[in-house]
Symmetry: C2
Amino acid sequence: MNAKAKTNKYHHGDLRQALIDTAAQQIAEHGVAAISMRKLGDLVGVSRTALYHHFANKGELLSAVAESGFKKWQNQTEQGLEQSFDNNQQRLSVYVERYFEFALNNSAKYELMFGKEIWREQQSSEVLEQLAYKTFEYHVELIKQWQQQGVISSAQPALRVAQVTWGTLHGISKLFIDGIYIEQKNLKELTTTIVALFQPN
Amino acid sequence: MNAKAKTNKYHHGDLRQALIDTAAQQIAEHGVAAISMRKLGDLVGVSRTALYHHFANKGELLSAVAESGFKKWQNQTEQGLEQSFDNNQQRLSVYVERYFEFALNNSAKYELMFGKEIWREQQSSEVLEQLAYKTFEYHVELIKQWQQQGVISSAQPALRVAQVTWGTLHGISKLFIDGIYIEQKNLKELTTTIVALFQPN
DNA sequence: TGATTAATCTTGACACTGTCAACTTAACAT
DNA sequence: ATGTTAAGTTGACAGTGTCAAGATTAATCA
């Protein structure tokens, strides 16, 4: 009945998705600052203001890109933790490594996902909030597991530990992404330090 | 011979300093995004391009504001740790609290000081790098002390611990500033959690 | 089918932005 | 007094996000 995906090509095809994809690609290649509505229109072969029929403003477009980023993150890390590990602590190590890997390999997208443009200035859509909350909840669940397994200190409530550890991962990622910490070769050592520091007393 | 500070008032007085001050104030009140060269010129009572005789571009102006921010940070925290404490751990607590306090009470300035506009896009002046490095070194020294006093785990090298702990403070600050973590009332509890987590094993 | 409604895209326009070039004014040094 | 130079000016250019009004095309209903 509704063969949307195939046939609905008004003038373009599926402009909305094309915009999201192209934006994501441009952001990955040239950073989030280098992207403009007009250039994006050009790239997709459509006029400057056509975008506004699919997104109320630039912020909403960027939010949509961020959404796709959260999905990617979720998939990637869930998948990374599926395999079996020598021990529970190693699983934690891998998680930390994966976090940094994602953040640094998708730095512009990461910046967008956790940037104030979306969370403070934009009043972040329901969907986005849901997705972001899900990734954080996933993190909390992992912390709980590791606390039970004695890999992470359980002297403090899981939620607080989750907030602090997320802060650690986020902070270090940001310091690298923003060019304050430079020596990326230290990342392995930092991972070791993190895992050691959060061990139970 | 050279009574610069007093007499050299070509047309304005000390435009350079006036620009830095006004910019800092505007940034504090309306955020770093809301500041433009032209508006700044207006506010100081000078034309749009007069600024360019004192700063090569907007980035350099912002860097100058950031410099003042680092100085303020250094003063404030050094002063905050001068007093005597009941015990060494309490001193750590206060340090953490002060960090958050500074970050949240000067959020826009903090954003500037550790933002990529300055560190990655701008190629950050010597002076700025020096100042920033100094604040980090100060942090490293504190970590060393706390390790010796048995307040922070000394199983890992001080530099790495310093990088991780700074990351934690920075990350949590950013999550609050950017509007991801909301409930500021949790900050005290988070401080407790941080201090507990970094205790020696 | 044909007519109408609604979605989509376009051009024109506005108010901003950072910054360059060329010019004017004022301060200082000889 | 004169000339050099620092400081501030206006004009201009290429961008930006986004609104309003009009044109086109697809979907929907008679």
